[in-house]
């Protein structure tokens, strides 16, 4: 039924040819990215139908970060939400060094096994960075109620770590790897100064994803 309609957008990973012309203006051709952060987008194949496009994002800082996060107030909080809250609380917002995100499966309503999967994602990233304490925020997006293909993900985290880079293309690939029904990667960056240090140029960069099930109420 779906294929008979020209307007349909399949739930699939995003690739260049699927970006509508009207949306291309929202994709930056370069950026000013914060020092000490490196990122990567790696193909795992969380959805079996995805045979080549990146679906694992890793954002990593060379130095420990102060961090904060807001999370959905939905009562059915996904495993990565619960695990990331616990990590931030245990570290009191300090010492966070990475964010790992998979698309293709939300790891939501997946019970104890789902919690273990989210914890193992974070722990594997920490191990790659040589860290012993939980220092990684974990996120997932995709279908609710299905377990992650965790072995495939854990196998590719070392690759994601070794692919970390600070180039614009790396940031764009990372933004692309978190997309689900999105039609374009969402990435912006800018510089700014602060009154007490007018001679220092700071950078901020951000990526986001979302196209449906969007009415956030995070706290």
């Amino acid at each position: 039924i779906a294929t008979s309609r020209n307007q349909v957008r399949f739930y699939n990973v995003l690739h260049d040819t699927s970006i509508p012309d009207a949306k291309r203006k929202h994709i930056p051709s370069d950026g000013t990215y914060p020092k000490g952060f490196r990122v990567s987008g790696t193909h795992v194949g969380v959805k079996a139908s995805n045979t080549k496009f990146p679906d694992l994002a890793l954002i990593s800082s060379d130095e420990p970060c102060n961090a904060a996060a807001v999370f959905t107030t939905n009562k059915f909080q996904a495993a990565p939400v619960q695990v990331s809250k616990a990590t931030l609380n245990s570290r009191q917002g300090k010492g966070v060094q990475s964010v790992v995100i998979n698309s293709g499966c939300a790891n939501a309503v997946t019970g104890k096994g789902g919690l273990e999967d989210a914890q193992s994602m974070g722990a594997t990233v920490d191990k790659c960075a040589g860290l012993s304490e939980p220092s990684t925020i974990v996120m997932s997006t995709g279908v609710i109620g299905q377990r992650l293909p965790i072995a495939k993900i854990l196998d590719k985290i070392p690759t994601a770590h070794s692919n970390l880079a600070s180039t614009h293309n790396a940031w764009l690939a990372t933004a692309r790897s978190i997309c689900t029904t999105d039609t374009f990667p969402k990435l912006i960056s800018q510089t700014f100064t602060l009154p007490s240090s007018p001679g220092i140029t700071y950078s901020v960069a951000g990526m986001t994803k979302g196209a449906g099930m969007i009415h956030p109420n995070m706290a």
Binding site: G36, A68, A69, V204, K209
Partner: protein, 232 residues
């Protein structure tokens, strides 16, 4: 699901992070709507590694650095969150709804959110129908609004074109305007649109009150098509 990561090389005191993020998110990611559904996974994270140097932004909301950074982060996250609305499933419109001259910020925000979630407002916008009656209806059924905030005789609704041309008044102090349907149709041809709801200060009638803004998109046939087979 909404996910987001914001990274900066500015030094920020750990105790300042939560307040800065909450302020920014309440005015950005928590002020957007595509379809009115709140996910199980929504998460926005802010990381600051301080690598660029300088003194840390303190956890003091009155400090000049804190104020400056708060403005940067709020504006930045607004830009980021608006990209999500522009890519809403099946969306053809990017709509800003501004509720102004409200005696109460929370009530203004609830009204903006209700308009942004109304399926009938969203389908009218998709159909390029200047159906202000549906906007008014959504204002009227908004839950949790403080008494005296919405007074029909003080309520006005208008469309603000993005090209800078004069606003199109649809309702003024509760009285319907004679709408130039051709002009309304022309305004609604644009991808971007702003709906202005003026509460006229509510029962007290004091203008210059609180203002709340939400960003949302329309509902199209494609939204149903996409989500009819998302899982399979």
């Amino acid at each position: 699901t909404l996910l987001g990561v914001v990274c900066t090389d500015a030094p920020i005191d750990a105790a300042a992070m939560k307040g800065l993020l909450l302020h920014a998110v309440s005015r950005s990611f928590n002020s957007i709507s595509v379809d009115g559904d709140t996910s199980t996974n929504d998460t926005i994270a802010l990381l600051a590694n301080g690598t660029a140097g300088g003194s840390a932004v303190p956890a003091s909301p009155s400090s000049p650095d804190y104020i400056a950074l708060q403005e940067v982060l709020t504006s930045f996250t607004q830009s980021l969150s608006q990209l999500v609305v522009r890519d809403g499933e099946g969306a053809t419109k990017f709509v800003t709804v501004r509720v102004q001259n409200s005696p109460c910020y929370d009530s203004a925000r609830r009204i903006a959110s209700t308009i942004a979630r109304s399926p009938l407002v969203k389908t009218a916008l998709y159909g390029r129908d200047a159906n202000w009656g549906r906007i008014l209806c959504a204002i009227g059924y908004t839950e949790g609004v403080t008494d005296g905030v919405v007074v029909p005789e003080r309520t006005s609704v208008s469309f603000k074109p993005v090209d800078g041309s004069p606003i199109l008044k649809l309702l003024v102090n509760g009285e319907p305007e004679t709408v130039d349907e051709q002009r309304a149709s022309a305004i609604l041809q644009n991808e971007d649109l702003e709906i202005v709801v003026d509460l006229g200060g509510g029962a007290k009638g004091e203008v210059g009150g609180e203002e709340a803004v939400y960003w949302f998109c329309d509902f199209s046939h494609e939204y149903v098509t996409i989500n009819g087979d998302y899982r399979t």
